[in-house]
Symmetry: D2
Subunit: 150 residues, 4 copies
């Protein structure tokens, strides 16, 4: 999947980068926000031994973390005009684990399925990169709600 969607206004791209940087946990994972377009977002995390499960593969919770983030920021890109006083919260998600997440890096690609006024539905694919090859290792379907910031 190559990046899709229009580029964002600089101001909005910076708001998203700021938001991502304020998640201490994403920093604890070493996750990085990559391409963000209108309705589309990519988050990557490099292999580190502390991110693994019993067999040395990426842990499912790391996969869930980047799938949720890529989906949430994809959803957020359609809230641009109201960005300063609107927050998006994950209502729920479902994730299917498809193959062992083995490799040098993990990439989550989130995209909007339906941008609603109150609720936005997204899906994400998580790919593992090994020796230059991409392999689908998980897929998710998520619901986000827009709320006014307090």
């Amino acid at each position: 999947m190559t990046p899709e969607g229009e580029h964002l206004a600089l101001r909005q791209e910076e708001a998203i980068k700021d938001s991502f940087a304020r998640q201490a946990f994403m920093n604890h994972l070493g996750a990085r926000l990559m391409t963000v377009r209108r309705g589309w977002c990519e988050v990557i995390v490099d292999y580190r031994p502390e991110l693994t499960q019993q067999h040395g593969y990426f842990h499912g919770a790391v996969i869930g973390a980047i799938a949720d983030n890529a989906s949430g920021y994809a959803a957020f890109t359609t809230k641009s005009s109201e960005a300063s006083d609107t927050a998006l919260i994950t209502v729920e998600y479902k994730i299917n684990f498809i193959a062992p997440a083995r490799g040098d890096a993990l990439v989550a690609q989130g995209q909007i399925v339906h941008p609603g006024k109150t609720l936005t539905v997204c899906r994400a694919n998580v790919l593992c990169l090994e020796n230059g090859k991409e392999k689908l290792c998980a897929t998710s379907l998520s619901t986000f709600i827009s709320i006014k910031k307090e």
Copy 2:
């Protein structure tokens, strides 16, 4: 929710503790395996700044991590006789985030809904503990599959 279910045989309890300890990522979170009973498992994680999202609450991915672990080990407790050559893998889960996960610690309580020969269905509640009070902050429904270890 107080612990439910029969106590496990010592050998099985140790197999579960060993398995938990071999998850580097759970150690990276500082998560600890607490009570394990037949069909029931509790995992706890204490507050640390690096586990938070933008508002200083526990990150959703930490909630997902311990919900999945508590469910998975609850499921595993019914696989005792075959424990040495059977592995349980998360097929998929769905999680609803119910309230901000604010507090000193987070506890996931997983229990079996249906223990199948191939597929086991579990649910988990995740509670945040703040000033000695428990509050439900998430709930999940998960599917696990038993496979022969290679």
Copy 3:
């Protein structure tokens, strides 16, 4: 599971019965609303050959239908004071099919996990009744949203 929760005010119980009766599709299934309590609701459907899948068991979509209805009306019971101008809509649900739904009748028991102001989370168990015995055949986890009626 025996019925749980307080009895409803007569006015509210009638509002729920009216709403159920206005679902033409539930009538097409022959589904009936049974016990309704605060945060709890039971819907039953008797065996009829037209409700089956290839093997003569209840079709999964019938199971999904009554799980969703039992959950939705369980959620609705907490919206009593505003009942006249509030509607509850299913945002999404996830359902696990656990055993073949064989028998004389199918009963869905829905209950609230968390009653929120905007979003309510419910779960339901669906039991099949065969020769006087109950067997769990499915379990669901659902999200509902309150909206102002137009």
Copy 4:
């Protein structure tokens, strides 16, 4: 979405049509199996008053029924060589309802996300057709398991 994937062998297409026809409940809905390709399946149901909810739109359970069927037969198309002794069962699905399902007909388009040996993951979009226009009204993510027929 236009049909995707290779055409099936005649023998397999007929096996799928036979299986669909043996679901009494799909007949009770008036649902029809449309295009089937390798990894892709379309199921349609025309508007009838008995398929509606309180507001005269298609009932969510009808949406769930055709999403599940379109996904299941999409999954089944990859099991061709073993078709005679393999059955596919829905393990679970999650469905998001996106817009009121108003219109003359409802079309579910299911496709494979990952065809596994034991577990197959599919997603489906459900569109409502009104005055010649298609509108997305629901989306699902499902898991199926292959079992040996008894």
